[in-house]
Each structure stands twice: as C-alpha cells, then as structure tokens.
Subunit: 356 residues, 2 copies
C-alpha cells in the first residue's frame, strides 16, 4: 500500500507512523517547512521525503493533505492534479464546507480527525494518535463509492473510527464544541484583564473555573485566525445563539428570579450529563472527587487500579493545590455500576472520595 | 485564643484544623447539618461542638461564619447578637456587597478566602487549605481598626494572605473571574446539547477546549443559584460586557476581516499572559507542552524534578489520550529564566517538550 502525506506535522507525521507500523505501508511525504522532512525521516514517519506534493503523490493509493487551513485549498488542488485516477485524496482540516465548496471531484473526500489539538510538529507525532478517535468524513453525492470505502478501511487501519457526516452539520458541530469555546475563552480573559486594570486591584490566584475556561485563550494565532474564518458562517450563527442565551439568563438575574436561575442551572447540569452520556453511549455519568497527596505515582496508581478493574475513566481533571503538596482529582464514569465500583476501589486505596 | 466556627463544612472545618494546629487555638463550632459536628470532632477540626451559634460564639476572640450564601445574612446577625464587644465577626461568602449592605457594626468585617472550590464537606477539610491563598477582607469606614488588625493577624496565622478590597470591586472581580465563567459554561453545554439533538449527529469525543470550558457547567445548584443572585448586579454588568465583546468579534467574522480577527486573538493572548503575570508578580509567562507516557509517577517525576530545582509551576493541565496510555502535560512558568531551565530539565528527563 502506498500512502502520500502532504504536510508532515503532528497529524501528517502520525499518519505516516501509523501507516508504516500498523499497515506496513510505504509512505512518501512532502513538507515545505525547513528541516521538517529530515525530522520526519529520523522519526520514522516517512519512507521517502519528496521535493513536491506532486512527487509525493506519485503512485499513491491514498493521499492525506495535512497542511494548515490557510493553504489547504491550494494544496488539495495540487494533490488532485497530480494524483492518478485510482487514488483517493482527503484532507484533515478542521472545517469542511469551504474546502468542499468548489470540489466535485469523485476522488476527493473531506476529512477531519479529532485528535492532537494540544501540540504540534512531527516531533510529537505518534503511531497511536488516532487510536479510538472519531475521524469525520464528509462524502458528497459525487464521491466515488469505491474510493470512499478504501479511505474508510485505511482510517480504521490507523486505529480511528471513521464517521460520515454532512459537511454543514460538521461545521456547526465544530462551532459548538470547539470554535465557540475558543471565542468565549478570548472574551473572558480580555474582560477579566480589563476589570483588573479598571479596578487597579491585584488579580487573585484565580480559581479552577477561570483557569479551565481560559486555557485556550489566544491560541496559536497563525492557525486559529484561519480556523475562525474558514468556519465563520457557522461561528456567527453560534455567537448569535450565545448572545440570545446570555440575554435570557441576564433577564432572570436582573429580575432576581431564583426559580428561573435555578431551573436554568439545573438544565445545564442535565445537558452536561447528556453530552457526556452521548459520548459514552452508556449509562448516566457520575463524578467522583478524590483528595490526593502529590507524591509520585498517586494519579497513576488510581488510574491503573481502575484500569485493572476494567473501569473506564470518561474524563478526568487535576486541581493541584498552589504548593503542589495536595490536590483533588475529579473523575467521571459512565454508568451507575462502574461509578459505584470506582468509588469503593478508590476508598480502598485510602483516599478520601466524594460525589459532589 | 478562642475561635468560633459557625458552619463546619470544608472551609469552616479547615479553619478549625488550621486554628488548632497552627495557632494552638481552642475552637468551638456549630453546624445545623445532621452528624456534621460529630464528623468535625472526629476529624479534629473542633474542640467543642455546640448546640447553637450563640453558644459557639461565647468568649470567642474571632468568629467565622462559614454557612452557605443563602443563609449567610441570618447567621451573621445571630452571631453578632451573641458575640461580645471585643469579638470580631467575619464571613467567608463569595460575594460581599449584599452581606455588608445593612451592617455598619464595627465588629463585622466581610471576608472571602479563595480556596477550596473543588470539594465540600468537613471530611475534605485540611489544615493547609489556606496556605498561600488570597483571603479578601472588605473593611468599611465603620470597621474597628483594632478588630480588623486582629482578624488580619489571625488569617496570616492560618497561612493565608489577607488582602483588603472594596466590597463592590470584589464583587465585580469575582463576577469576571468566577461567576461569569460558570454562566458561560452553562450556555456552552446547553447550546452544544441543542446542536447535537437538532442535527441528530452522534457527539464526538469533544476536545479539551470544550471539556475544560464546561467542566463547571450546572455546578451544585443549591450553592450556585444563591451565588448568582447574591452577585446579580455585578454579574448582569459582566454579561452585558460579554455581549458587547461577542458582537464586536461577530462583526469582524461576518465581514471576513482577517486582520481584525487576528488582532483580537493576539490581544487575548496578551491578556492571558498579563493575567498570569499579574498573579505571579514575576516575569513573562511561558508555556511548555510535554508528551508523557501514562506510567506510574511520570507527572510527579516532572513536578518533583522542577521542585528540586526550585522552579515554580504557575499552572498545569493534563490532557490524557482517550486510552490513558499517553498524554500531554501543559506547564506554565513565570519568567524567561525558569522556563528555559524547566525546558532543559524536562528534556533531560527524556520527554519530548515544546513551546507552543
């Protein structure tokens, strides 16, 4: 099997590693960045570094275009122009309507793996990056069924779970769960920064809610300006909805309507639970809060004990004390029975555990 | 020294533990919850469990009212009525304007320790909960200077850093850094839940930005409805500002104005850095991203190595891979020199490390 990777960063590099190690594929790659191909070859992500996208795509069964959103359209066109009749071309861009707009080529399928947002660069590439990850594909009526099936099978071979979705629905979903949280993080930090300088007050060590909500504020500008603009239609709709929702709760607050505020908060708690449950497709989600000393191996000890008992941790968050001497680990579990067993197991390990 | 604690939960219990262990104080407590006093006595948070607030406050030099915001005003009045002329009374409520509004008593000083938001209950109380934590005090023109000084000294003895702030400024600051993030978390989850059910799409395993931003969504309704309402004036102002800011970026997006979107994002990055720097009162803040295998002790190994080198971790976040086999630890450091040393040190430990 011959694979081409155009753009060998974290995603492209991980595709190369997984394709070589898990599928025994021969991987040819191209990247315009200084020294990137050398680094990718050293890391074992490629068999051959090529001088152009056209050279990399020669003889490829499947070509992945994994360049930043800003240069994506151009790179896809270049790759399609060079690919043979029997080659399928896909991209990994985080928005899909724009790249599909003018491309009715039966060989092109839009794609978006949900993996690897936290780091970048081929040095962080790893062969299991896509293990268990949703990989959205956005086939259209002009997509070749045969080529789509091949791409689907290849992604499964990389460890991912391919899922077909309408390109518009994909972009609206991403606006809700990724782009809008980034916008709100930006708004929150700028507003807090303004409040601090208006009030000439020293900023306290902010609590976990602010830290968590603003961790992605001002995320990599070179990447995110392109992402915001590529998905601007869905994002503008999302912002309008957010403004409507904020106005509703503002009215309840201004009126001092405790019943309405309480109902609104309870609905959010239900929605959070439903979202976690939808992700797990399992039972109801429960949270445990475990107080732990910060000595070597404590978090791993808990995670491993739960793993050995076959209990899956749906989500976790660490809240270290300022001096790192102690902290709280929040753990989320799907289903009553796993949560009960997890609680008993963690208590047996000797840690105070509570359900908030 | 005699200390009274009215309401012996996480905060009240930790005050009791710290006062007994660090100040050698005698601590008398009252709590209306079933079995709470017994649990507090077992935990060593109190010397005496009392049948009423009035009984607990008898002979106290300092009385802490640590009940939920909803019953705070009543409990403060009861405590003031029973306290002697020479006793100082303070509360630990998360908003300050409301509790001060009708209280010009020279013995009362509003207070708010920034600690312990993640768990509740005396079973999680610990003597070092306030170690290094900001503890806001809101003295007014009618506050007794002598009693204020005693309270300030007592809080220092508990390990906290007392800081005087105008009650209105306090509430606006808390709206920015705590209450508004909670409101936005609620809005985000409800909007995402609506998007998923509108589009009949399975929800993907959402990325860290959504998980982080919505972790507090629907937080404990019994507590948070009261907090929102107690601070509703400042919160309504904060929401209005957020709406204005959202409209601005919406216009830039709708117009496809890349320069404006990019400038807005860069300003947020600057604001985040400034906020972190303000907290640290040190140099510029740098982020490192470390790829780690999830084997026992890895995170602790890094934290301890940095600790031994005298490098302070300003903030950290763990992003485990779905299967928990690997992950990324994001670490923030104040100042160029500590960040450079941390990067070299972590690299020496054999972990791939990058500055995003």
């Amino acid at each position: 099997m011959n694979i081409a990777v155009i753009g060998v960063g974290l995603i492209g590099g991980s595709i190369g590693l997984a394709a070589r190690q898990r599928l025994g594929a021969t991987v040819r790659g191209f990247d315009s960045g200084d020294g990137v191909l050398d680094a990718a070859l050293r890391r074992g992500a490629l068999d051959h570094g090529c001088a152009s996208a056209a050279e990399a795509v020669e003889g490829a069964d499947t070509a992945f275009v994994a360049v930043p959103v800003g240069t994506l359209a151009e790179a896809v066109d270049e790759t399609l122009a060079a690919a043979g009749e029997a080659g399928v071309v896909t991209d990994v861009g985080s928005t899909k309507r724009a790249v599909l707009a003018d491309r009715a080529d039966p060989r092109f399928v839009g794609g978006h793996p949900l993996a690897g947002a936290e780091t970048s660069g081929v040095e962080h590439a790893r062969p299991d990056l896509f293990e268990g990850a949703t990989w959205y594909l956005t086939p259209t009526s002009s997509t070749s069924g045969m080529l789509y099936e091949r791409l689907h099978r290849t992604l499964g071979g990389l460890g991912a779970q391919p899922a077909a979705i309408d390109a518009g629905a994909h972009d609206r979903l991403m606006a809700s769960v990724s782009h809008l949280p980034h916008v709100l993080a930006n708004v929150l930090v700028s507003q807090a920064a303004a409040a601090v300088s208006d009030q000439r007050e020293p900023l306290p060590a902010t609590g976990p809610s602010f830290r968590d909500a603003t961790r992605v504020a001002g995320a990599n500008g070179a990447i995110w300006t392109d992402i915001y603009l590529a998905n601007r239609d869905a994002l503008v709709e999302g912002i309008d909805q957010t403004v409507r929702r904020l106005r509703e709760v503002r009215e309840s607050l201004a009126a001092g309507d405790a019943g309405s505020v309480s109902g609104w908060n309870a609905a959010a708690a239900d929605d959070r639970r439903r979202l976690l449950e939808a992700q797990l497709a399992g039972g109801p989600v429960h949270e445990l809060r475990v107080s732990v000393p910060n000595r070597p191996g404590v978090v791993a000890q808990i995670a491993l004990a739960l793993g050995r008992a076959g209990i899956n941790i749906a989500d976790m968050a660490l809240y270290p004390a300022p001096d790192m001497s102690e902290g709280v680990v929040a753990l989320w579990f799907g289903g009553d029975e796993p949560a009960d067993r997890a609680q008993a197991l963690v208590a047996d390990l000797g840690f105070p555990v509570a359900r908030p």
